[in-house]
Symmetry: D2
Subunit: 135 residues, 4 copies
């Protein structure tokens, strides 16, 4: 299993008039979690796109437990429980500064060839960076 953490603060523009982070903005946090997880592994989503691979999102499941509030420093915990095949599933936990669990999510993504948007299997270069965590 691979686990990575990254911290980011809730922006004013991400709140809504309920005084919470708007529920529609959490997907950007999952995206940052994934991207920073790849960076910690020495690769990047940008590099994948430059190789001609894109990762469109197939499914998202989100649970809102406690609200994230303005200026809170949120920890995004990004987890991979299985090696990617034709698709990859990331799990996310969002925690506040006291370690309270605010939110969980699972995001399923495909791999496609950018030239024609046809599905492909997980690129070998990406598999290699995850493999050490699954032995």
């Amino acid at each position: 299993m691979f686990v990575s953490e990254f911290k980011m603060r809730v922006r004013y523009g991400e709140t809504d008039q309920m005084g919470y982070m708007y529920h529609g903005n959490y997907a950007q946090y999952y995206e940052v979690g994934r991207v920073e997880a790849l960076r910690q592994l020495g690769t990047s989503y940008k590099a994948l796109e430059e190789e001609g691979v894109m990762m469109p999102v197939l499914e998202i499941q989100s649970k809102f437990i406690r609200p994230a509030l303005y200026d809170d420093e949120i920890t995004i915990r990004t987890m991979l429980r299985e090696l990617p095949k034709a698709r990859v599933s990331f799990e996310f936990e969002l925690l506040d500064e006291s370690g309270n669990l605010l939110h969980t999510a699972t995001v399923h993504l495909a791999f496609v060839r950018a030239s024609d948007m046809r599905p492909i299997r997980c690129p070998q270069s990406l598999l290699e960076v995850f493999k050490p965590y699954f032995t």
Copy 2:
């Protein structure tokens, strides 16, 4: 069962560099679908908030079937299969101009009293507008 439809176009600012509507922007479409469904019923989410009721989101499940593209006029179909109780579950289908199904989602919301954010049951005023569809 209650069904409502509303059309809106994908804004340039909602696309991403994949050339698709960014996956994180769909939640705003569900929100518009719900809000316009209430308006078609002669009430509004704004009126609910003015009565002191808020509806935080508890869970979202989303499936991305085909991409929504820039300037497409998307039909948001908002469906309610059961009368709300302590919570309410809306189902959504997004369709393109040719009637192709692009996306489905289910959103579960709670009812809370704005003064203290404590859970309450669905307000009677809201139940009344839905009841004619469930007899």
Copy 3:
């Protein structure tokens, strides 16, 4: 002079915890104003991009007079005072349902060839649709 109007409602996700439409979201309203102005003229920004022309933004000036509030139906008035040349300048006024002026803005855009992002003059096809308003 060319003037066009389009109405759209402030989404919940566009508000912030001040209870106003977040100031960073107005630029999307200018974009919708421009795009719907072109559509009223029988063309579209999408068609321009398909012709290989893009219109990056060069400058924006915005004045916030009164707040736009959740669920308000905002009228976006899009104005063109001069025919486009190497660049084009749109002026915007945002009004609430009572006709109060909420916001003004000017947006200057360039024309570039999508293939190499090099500046070009305003495409003839676009000039033609504006010309009848400047005689």
Copy 4:
């Protein structure tokens, strides 16, 4: 004169199909620049709001010089040339990783009492943190 710098990366969700950071998203960068400038001074915008002071935006002027691209680490340079009075004017420069100037902006904000949204002068607590830079 007070100058502060903060770095943040362009999110995928902030790009548009032109392959650039969407022009409407820069205002969030100014906001983060201001907020982190206050934090570096030992105070915070959140603390101001908790004191009952809000800072609505009055005017924005933006110049787009070069595009910000996906995953670029942008330096936001936040500058204050004059002590705040009834309003405050921040200037911003956005730079890429090579130090190229991408974007400049000026944002003018008011101070209002949150209880009634009436204008007030800059709170003394905020003046104090800026004063050492203007002697």
